[in-house]
Symmetry: D3
Subunit: 238 residues, 6 copies
């Protein structure tokens, strides 16, 4: 049995709260069970230097964990003077995932930065970040449209992500922390709302995994992501 009696293919209770903070152009608190991430999208009217003058926009992301978002306190990255390898990996993944659903040409020379800050971590913070950031970014673009700065929202659709894994011989969807720690294989999948893949990152933490296990995990991810996309759409329709 899973810790909370979830079915193997079931995502945790997902909740997205828009306008969670007051100043960001898009601000979403996303909760996947006990995992809580605040996704704030900022719009700035200038692009990185290497992109200037090309008439294109850019989307980037930063990721951080509050020191006590975890069971035992982690050292604050600002105090240690650098962002660790895991942080950098994750923020690069979030940024690539978001850019995959945006028409950068249609943005004009605008930059959107989505900050994903983990308030509480119970597994799946990177996939929750992507799923919440998509909604925060959508809100930010809508504000630009409403203000007449963009003719149309340059997003081609939603992007969502989920972690899946082999735990005690079972393929499970949306691992929470205790499952993630016990997983032989852990895979993060990022998809568009049409179910096409943007990123697949599978890692054998224990035993290597077979082709069949990979297929099983992908099928679970596909279902989970479809469920999350429904919640994204519902959230934005309110």
């Amino acid at each position: 049995m899973r810790p909370d009696n979830r079915a193997l293919d079931q995502v945790r209770s997902v909740k997205m709260t828009r306008d969670y903070t007051a100043y960001a152009e898009g601000s979403v608190l996303v909760e996947f069970g006990n995992t809580k991430v605040l996704c704030n999208a900022t719009v700035e009217e200038n692009v990185p230097r290497w992109l200037k003058g090309q008439g294109k926009g850019w989307v980037t992301a930063e990721y951080g964990m509050l020191p006590r978002s975890t069971h035992s306190r982690m050292r604050r990255e600002a105090a240690s003077g650098k962002q660790g390898g895991r942080t950098m990996e994750i923020q690069r993944l979030i940024a690539r995932s978001l850019r995959a659903v945006v028409d950068l040409e249609a943005m004009g020379e605008i930059m959107v930065t989505v900050d994903c800050d983990v308030i509480q971590a119970d597994g799946g913070t990177r996939t929750a970040s992507i799923s919440g950031a998509s909604v925060a970014m959508a809100d930010a673009f809508e504000k630009l449209v409403a203000a007449g700065k963009l003719k149309a929202n340059p997003m081609k659709g939603h992007v969502a992500a989920v972690s899946v894994g082999m735990v005690e011989g079972e393929a499970r969807c949306d691992l929470e922390y205790v499952e993630d720690s016990a997983a032989d294989t852990d895979m993060n999948v990022v998809m568009t709302e049409e179910g096409k893949m943007i990123e697949v990152q599978g890692t054998a933490e224990g035993e290597p995994f077979s082709h069949e296990e990979l297929l099983e995990l992908l099928a679970l991810a596909n279902k989970g992501i479809r469920d999350i996309v429904e919640i994204q759409k519902e959230t934005l329709s309110q």
Copy 2:
């Protein structure tokens, strides 16, 4: 008139939510109007190296702002590779304020770290941090007492803080951002629940201030802090 029709000696609406996150030994979301700070107290059973073997405890604090807690996005300190001077000043102030109300001898060799992370900033983040951290620390100590690790709570009482300032010729209590920006003098006052002073930091941003103005500001601070202490007590009694 003040932005929200407050009386000159009136603190903003203050709200303290305990157990805001799940893992910290004490976790309080403190809100002073639109200023929101998450104060998480962590207990660790070892003290800094320079204090080892003396049978005493230690209390420290760290402070950070989420990049989009402010009107325009600030650079993430973890990304810039160091904490700025303002951050260091504030976290040193919070830590000194907390230690002033704790009997370090009575703690034994235990360390409490309180992380104050600003979710949304509308003035007074350092004073809100101190006021919330006092409650988070109290909760952490109570857990140690309940677990039999401490005989009694080593806090001598509450500590609370408020900012006061001269704005447009008026002494005002608990400045919000627009008032703070316009203030000629800005003063942060930290007091014990008995009204004794722990820190007084007054700065003339514009015109230097007179002795009379200082006295006026101190009186306002005294009243404001008494009001905040009431809320701290009420919060802990729930």
Copy 3:
């Protein structure tokens, strides 16, 4: 046609030169076409602090590029004062891949560090690094066995890796730089010599990819890795 008339499922000419440098316990120059990486395995008889006293070993890796291994000069990471996100991602991947084929318990309290330094980069440096590092590590372990410090080589088998991708609508194996730059999807696959997967990292650089494309890429990777494992075995048999 591919740049060098290779078949779609064909890896580049692969060459592994053992004992390339004189001091490392294992030293392999691995060449995949014009990509050249020097993999040096170092044995040290102490493990990281967090692992001390558990009787287990550890395998780690570091990755770097010489500033002029690329078409235009890159800034030296030692001079810029930090390793970039890409470097950290890659060295974490190499290390995980190597650990997946080592019985850490059987190593005893020994640490192996494999330095992968790119002399010349023409695509696929991370997969070449993994493939070469496996051989360098094998040599290092053999020396420990020969010296009587280990009873048997603790490797469970070889690990190899290859990049595959969708380029101009075709699935291709072992992308070189010009193909990689033009790829819609780029996937790095790490497998054991039995063809089980250790890591799968697929990224849509342009268009998202379908399930069918993923399967096609995995099949290509499987074949490519089998070819590389043959070369690893042959290299070690000399």
Copy 4:
């Protein structure tokens, strides 16, 4: 009795040596008893980027301690790779204090940087720095006037500072190191020559302090600062 038989309201022997070094536009060695700080004012004809084009000037300060200015050697901040929190607090305080007595509009686009480097530390280094820096800055402005680059000295008057504190139940003025270490309350006060306050920073190191104690300390500070201003004026008149 105080260590050197001083009266409670008496500042230490204060000495200011102008033109202590040869290149700085203003150079003052300030001595408060055994505390010795070299204050060098530099004039540069460009302002920080964020101030460009506004026709205003800027005054800033940096503070440092020679490693062996103290009883036991401190680590050199340049070697440790960052300035500590105390250093940053102090240099921000010095800079704010100096700006408070300068008409920045009248300066034109000129920047003055005052470096305060502690040669020997016996308490009160930050207040000695402010008191000496005011004279060094005055000299620098006078040179600009003499060179015809400014019509008049843009200083509105002198600024001086002193530390006061509660030691063994007594309010004392201008604490030296042994007093400072034993103080229950330590307060730094910065005033204009007219006796208006620019900064008040009081900290309870031991027992919290009462309103009456605060008043007593402010009165002492006021007297001490008047004495220091006399010495500043005398120094500049030579």
Copy 5:
């Protein structure tokens, strides 16, 4: 006897391989016995900011050691976050030596950066770097001439370097590692092809050295450098 039966005034077997890597404008692998350094010269058509607009060029150098170029593994400088003092000393020496034989005025606003990366270290890495870098730089300039970007090669001649030292009472030329470790005096000499000196750096590691010993060492260096210059010329004539 010297470790490899060399005569006291004999340099090790020196080998220079041009075009060792494919992308650099000049690429030379230089070997002095077991010391192997890869020297890659990069041409960039812009100069450092402080030199802009003066119509002159610049030559600079960077130096690094692969972590396992040495008997025991050294920490990677990119990982430790800074270049050590020895690295900085050496790269400044290489750069000065190269600039001494280039007519910077004749270069135009072009910058040449020579990266010297040590693949294997057996003493004399800095002198091998200089000797190899001179050839790599010559190749880079020849390419600029061939491309019509320079009228003539702005080098005034070759520069070469060798280490000499007092070992067991004998003056020896081109020390390898075991000799270097045992040397009482170690001297690096950099000369032009005409035998004029660019740098002389002699250090007493053990006993101070006399004037006569200095003269003996200089004579050895002179002979060694002439031999190396022959090899440089021969290499470039191929």
Copy 6:
């Protein structure tokens, strides 16, 4: 004519003030004309980790320049977050020079750190540092002898240094800044009081130098150092 009518072989007016600061075990302000360096020797009763348990001592040095010790203000190294290459070169040179005249075995497990901080720079700061540091170190050792912690002073004699150079075709001793800037060759020589060499560092800033010029410079250095050693002895005899 030299700027101050000095003879070609004449060192500037040299002055050494002992006990310049109060806390350091040895404290010397050394002045060579307008160059002023404060040399503070600190004694600590523990050695670097790598030397522990060997019964030997260690001598090290650190060097810094006050930001306005120079004609135009230099950036403070503590603020820029690292020590530059020049600083590292110089402090390594000072430390090697001092160690060359100390019997480390005879010191026991004690460490002496000499901080050389430049108050005013007019050329020759590194050679002045060495010459002054030798006296500061001697004072520190004498205190250890007086306190009964050492049986005898472990110094084998004095060490002194001077810069010499070819300026406008003339060999000159003890260059001041304007000469140094104009020098074709600049050479720093460090010698024992018996005239044996510890370091010789000659650099052609402009034209390469000949063997004859080198000999001429060494002769000048020899005379200059003998003069400085006289002043060291006289200073210590007072």
